[in-house]
């Protein structure tokens, strides 16, 4: 075991390999408040990467309703139960990671899902935590709640799949931190399926190997964002590169959202993998649930998100979500517009911070018709 620094935990932790951060780290920020679970991302991913034989029930990207939606069935509650109640502590996590909790003879605490756990990818869709009685009307905060959690591979800084593979078939690319399974070397032992707490490596019953989200690496290499990001009709995602906190650049929109404004939170940071997709937590969900899922700092993240209108840079970064297909390396806000730039400093896109308002006369003289207010 090597000692590595995990900034999500605020401390060093044990990891089976030496910790080497990649030159750049694939990252994504997802705004759960904007997701409507239309599954356009899921379909875009499915048609791009997993339409083949043996991939029938394989979804590298999925959107599940929380708290009762899971793919595969019970993935998070099962591993949380195995890990047991842990002491979160304050800024420094006091509990055990999945590496700390590895049983004798294992590299990580994990479990292999049953085959049937993949049979209902959209189970629990739209289920809220409880029933609403007849005649009730909505009050704030909501009496019952649910929200949508879109998930891809987190391309973790300390991947469980890399740690678990006994064949060195899983690797993290030094250039962009994307985690891949070498399909020539994989023998289908399913150690990665068992080890990954997010259950994002899957077993393909036709190739007899494990397969996972490839971070759309051919797109990334061409400077473009992933399929799930580009096709999102709600513009809830931004894909780019995330820095470690000591290397954070204020002009990198992902760094600004996560490190400066601190409104993006990792998914289950207590597992110890330093996952690189970040979520803007849902504003209407009880903090107790959110603590468990996104760690401490959730209430601050929600408070910061609510005040985004007062922070032009944050507003600008959020408005650049889904604004262009290329990866935005730098961004700038000039008072009325947010601009995104590529690695060469060329402007990719320019979006207004406030959408212009057009007031039109109620009666259209030309067509001799009354206009309907559609805003």
């Amino acid at each position: 075991m090597a000692k590595v620094y995990n900034w999500h935990l605020g401390r060093e932790m044990e990891y089976p390999h030496e910790g080497v951060r990649p030159a750049k780290q694939f990252g994504m920020v997802l705004d759960t408040n904007k997701c409507i679970a239309c599954q356009t991302c899921t379909v875009a991913c499915k048609t791009t990467w997993t339409p083949g034989r043996g991939q029938e029930s394989m979804f590298w990207n999925n959107v599940e309703s929380k708290p009762y939606g899971y793919y595969p069935l019970g993935w998070d509650v099962k591993i949380l139960e195995k890990l047991g109640v842990q002491e979160a502590g304050g800024k420094i996590y006091q509990g055990k990671t999945l590496f700390d909790a590895a049983p004798d003879g294992e590299r990580i605490l994990g479990y292999l899902p049953e085959d049937a756990d993949y049979a209902h990818p959209n189970i629990g869709e739209d289920d809220s935590v409880g029933l609403m009685s007849q005649g009730i009307h909505l009050t704030m905060p909501h009496m019952q709640w649910m929200y949508y959690l879109p998930r891809i591979c987190n391309h973790c800084t300390y991947p469980a799949c890399v740690a678990a593979c006994s064949r060195n078939s899983v690797y993290k690319r030094p250039e962009d931190g994307i985690v891949l399974i070498d399909q020539s070397r994989c023998r289908g032992y399913r150690e990665c399926v068992k080890g990954c707490p997010y259950k994002k490596p899957f077993f393909n019953s036709n190739t007899r190997t494990s397969e996972k989200c490839v971070g759309c690496y051919p797109a990334i290499e061409g400077g473009r964002q992933t399929q799930c990001t580009m096709t999102c009709i709600g513009k809830i995602r931004m894909q780019g590169y995330i820095s470690a906190p000591d290397k954070a650049r204020e002009d990198n929109p992902l760094d600004y959202i996560v490190h400066v404004a601190k409104i993006g939170r990792p998914l289950y940071p207590q597992f110890g993998l330093e996952p690189n997709t970040y979520y803007i937590p849902p504003t209407h969900v009880p903090p107790a649930y959110l603590y468990q899922m996104f760690g401490t700092g959730v209430e601050e993240a929600i408070a910061g998100y609510r005040k985004a209108k007062d922070d032009p840079k944050l507003l600008g970064a959020l408005l650049l979500f889904g604004a262009c297909k290329e990866i935005i390396h730098n961004f700038k806000v000039d008072g009325s517009h947010a601009m995104g730039f590529n690695e060469k400093g060329e402007e990719l896109v320019r979006v207004p911070l406030v959408e212009p308002i057009h007031v039109r006369a109620a009666y259209d003289e030309k067509f001799q018709a009354y206009r309907t207010n559609i805003t």
Partner: protein, 284 residues
Amino acid sequence: MKVKTHIRNMLATATLMAVVTPLWAADPVLVAHKISGNDALGDPGASYWESSKAVKMAMEAQTVATPAQPKVTVTEMSVRAVQNGKFLGLLLEWKDPTVDNLLITDGFGDQVAVEMPVTFKKDDLPNIMMGEAGKPVSVWQWRAPAQNDKDNGKPTTKQLYPNSNYDLYPDQILPAETAKLYTGAQGLGNPVSDGTKSSVMEMVAEGFGTLTHVGDQQQVAGKGVHKGGTWRVAMTYPLDAGNGVQLAAGSETAIGLAVWDGGNSDRGSRKAWASAWLSLKLSK
């Protein structure tokens, strides 16, 4: 970064090995007597095995390397050997009441493997646990799912999941070359994807995590049958082969054994193994 970890593992293993296991099995030597003929000796149902005296090897839980398998179901392996001057034949028999040959997320296959130094030097044996750098071992692994592919054809998704339904596969609408892009490991020729060519794989290893298929250089062949609660697997390898394992009539070598019970979720390092080398002598 992996090299350091690897070395650490090797050192840990070497220390453990020195403490817990003798180098050679205490059992008698396995002798491959010469029989007549020029053909490969890979038929588990053949009568020539009767001329060989079986050596029984104790199989133990693999708990040295992680991930480990603390509870194993196969505790004894019977080994026989014959040769005809052209080929060596090995017959492995072990009790396993169930046939596990379907690979789905929570389904693993029965397997057995024989390991031997690529070049045998009696006083300089490789680490029995997958060899070591500069001292490669050859591993011949028979797999029940591959045997099923060979005997009955590779099961389709519809056979694995009778109630499944799927709209359209890429190979139903795209030209073959384009559709191949959607076949992952199979399209890359990964031997685990398709057992119809051979139920045995020939691989080399120089330490944990290095096991690699030899590809077109494969010379091993074999077959397994399950009868009366026992797997009976034969493997055959040419003598005086130009490359690969150097075996000849009159020579000797050392063999290591491992067995996997798919029903016990054994795979990879989660296996039962013989912790000491078995001496194999080929008569002249």
